[in-house]
């Protein structure tokens, strides 16, 4: 089957195919069914894209999800944020294998076909890079919610519970950590505590109902619900069970959190509860006073969100927002609150609480303990200033 109709062209946004706009679509037949070859693409009028923070290295870089134009809780797979340390490998699933070894009774070699035959689970979970917001510690730096918060996305992931495979291999009593290793150019590695591995970790081969996207680790990635994104090793090729952590570069040189006293926290794995208002948000302009539905996302690496409060006066007063069902464990949760903008200056904030009782902190509260040099795990309340002319900007308030 070939594409018979329109084609990707320079004038269509990425991911779209350009077709002639019909002057009156009720007066002529539309384009034919399956002229897309049987796999559709987005409308040529939709142009939001992931955005790359301009790191010096293109090989080790990240791109961020356009949260401002998101809807609901699912992130379209084409807009899922990315973090690569050695580019995106192209791997034939027919030759890819996963090897499990170390402190196990039976070292195992599994093909992708093997994994697809094992008992599976599907779960809707967010992933967030713990570097999400790293530009925002000292002063408001990026303009949009894509820049300040775009290193998180939510998908429905399907795969085999890691515990299923570990039980098949037979883990030994002394097992305490597992090294997960990717087959990208960085041969990315992280150590995973055994209790996480035996709890809800997933060897994921599918995302949003189809195979993983290449950027998300095709054909196989590790999913560690609630843990910092860097640990969700993509293009997974190896799992080594050990009694000790491996102290890889990504868990020592990076992804450790430098405190004001010069010590650094190791293995800060869980993502604390966090929320952000995505509408209205930075770099938007409200055209006039009137009704607006404030909307945003809240999530916690420690369970479900139980409450989101919204303030329009910079945190002086708070109102509880509505949580859109389903409210899922370790997933983005959409919140909404009706708001009438009276045309005066306002500062919009959201604050979430998760089922452990943890309340999202203010930035001063966080900085008081952690200083501004810890890079990772900035989960403070975000403030958007609405000017009298309707312009929305990123502020520290």
């Amino acid at each position: 089957l070939l594409l018979s109709g329109g084609r990707a062209r320079a004038d269509a946004p990425p991911g779209a195919i350009e077709y002639p706009v019909q002057p009156d679509p009720t007066k002529e037949q539309g384009r034919l069914i399956l002229d897309d070859g049987g796999y559709g693409s987005r409308s040529q009028f939709e142009s939001e894209i992931r955005w790359r923070y301009p790191t010096d290295s293109l090989d080790s870089s990240w791109s961020m999800t356009p949260l401002a134009s998101g809807h609901g809780i699912i992130t379209p797979s084409g807009l899922h944020f990315e973090r690569h340390h050695g580019g995106i490998p192209t791997i034939d699933p027919a030759t890819h294998t996963l090897i499990i070894h170390g402190l196990v009774d039976k070292p195992l070699r599994l093909t992708m076909a093997d994994l697809r035959r094992m008992p599976s689970v599907s779960r809707i979970h967010f992933i967030e890079c713990s570097g999400n917001g790293l530009t925002e510690w000292e002063k408001p730096t990026l303009k949009t919610v894509q820049g300040t918060h775009g290193l998180t996305s939510t998908s429905e992931w399907t795969g085999v519970l890691l515990s299923t495979v570990l039980k098949e291999a037979g883990i030994q009593d002394s097992a305490a950590w597992i090294l997960a290793e990717g087959s990208d150019a960085a041969v990315m590695t992280r150590s995973v505590p055994i209790d996480v591995a035996m709890n809800d970790a997933i060897l994921a081969y599918a995302q949003n109902g189809e195979a993983l996207r290449p950027e998300q680790g095709y054909p196989l990635r590790l999913l560690l619900p609630g843990l910092e994104g860097n640990t969700h090793i993509k293009w997974l090729r190896r799992l080594e069970v050990s009694d000790k952590p491996f102290m890889t570069r990504e868990e020592t040189s990076k992804y450790t959190d430098l405190m004001p006293d010069g010590t650094a926290r190791l293995f800060t794995l869980e993502m604390d509860a966090k929320s952000v208002i995505t509408f209205p948000s930075g770099a938007m302009k409200l055209p006039r006073p009137g009704f607006y539905e404030i909307s945003g996302l809240a999530w916690s690496g420690r369970g479900k969100i139980v409450k989101v409060e919204v303030s329009a006066d910079g945190g002086k007063t708070w109102t509880e927002a509505a949580l859109q069902e389903p409210v899922l464990n370790k997933s983005h949760t959409r919140f909404r609150m009706p708001w009438i903008w009276d045309g005066n200056e306002a500062v919009l904030q959201s604050r979430c609480t998760d089922e452990t009782g943890y309340v999202q902190p203010t930035l001063p509260e966080l900085v008081r303990v952690r200083g501004t040099k810890s890079v990772y795990h900035l989960n403070a309340i975000q403030s958007w200033h609405v000017a009298a002319n309707g312009e929305v900007t990123n502020v520290h308030a």
């Binding site: 002529e28 955005w51 356009p66 401002a68 949009t144 770099a283 009137g290 810890s374």
Partner: protein, 204 residues
């Protein structure tokens, strides 16, 4: 050990060794809400009215309010005869629906007539003649959707005419029939009483 540490030579770096975020980083700008209409500037409320959108004008409604209902509402002015309809049909419909309104498999166009007394058999033929409960549906559908490759191109006169022709060929109207908004309402369809309410839930 002549050199001890290169720390003096090393440029001071801050967190994550990020490039200095000076100037325009080319973040894509998100869409802002758009308000097109000055009219609805009325003070909005939270529950009932949001002050969003504006009244639709009579002209705007009339331009697209094309439906025709069983009671005849929506039928436009105009008229057409069986004879006029035959011309329309031969020129614009027969290539797909066949000279005898029998349908042509290759075009996907169904038979328009025939099939009376087949509905309870094991080869039911559902057509305008045998199945359709309301003549209004015929006007409505031809007017909005036929001919397939030029939908909406027929005048009201032409739709009256070709409807008269189809209903005439189906033995529902006489061949000298002329249809207009008034006579259309009087058409009795053979299967008008053939439809029943959905018994579910509670029945299979």
């Amino acid at each position: 050990q002549t050199e001890t540490s290169a720390s003096d030579a090393a440029a001071a770096r801050t967190v994550a060794a990020l490039p200095e975020p000076v100037g325009n980083l080319e973040e894509p700008m998100p869409p802002s809400p758009v308000v097109e209409d000055a009219e609805s500037d009325a003070a909005p409320g939270l529950d009932a009215s949001f002050g969003i959108g504006r009244p639709a004008t009579k002209e705007e409604i009339a331009a697209i309010d094309i439906d025709v209902m069983p009671d005849g509402s929506g039928l436009p002015e105009g008229s057409g005869t069986y004879a006029e309809g035959e011309t329309v049909y031969v020129e614009q419909c027969a290539s797909c629906h066949g000279d005898n309104l029998e349908g042509i498999k290759e075009t996907g166009a169904p038979a328009l007539i025939g099939g009376r007394d087949t509905l309870a058999t094991d080869k039911p033929l559902k057509t305008v003649e045998s199945y359709w409960p309301h003549a209004s549906t015929l006007f409505d559908y031809i007017h909005r959707a036929m001919p397939l490759h030029a939908p909406g191109s027929l005048s009201a006169d032409e739709v009256y005419a070709v409807s008269a022709y189809i209903l005439g060929r189906g033995g529902i109207l006489p061949e000298d029939a002329e249809l207009n908004a008034q006579s259309f309402k009087e058409i009795e369809m053979p299967n008008a009483d053939g439809f029943v309410e959905d018994p579910r839930p509670g029945a299979m």
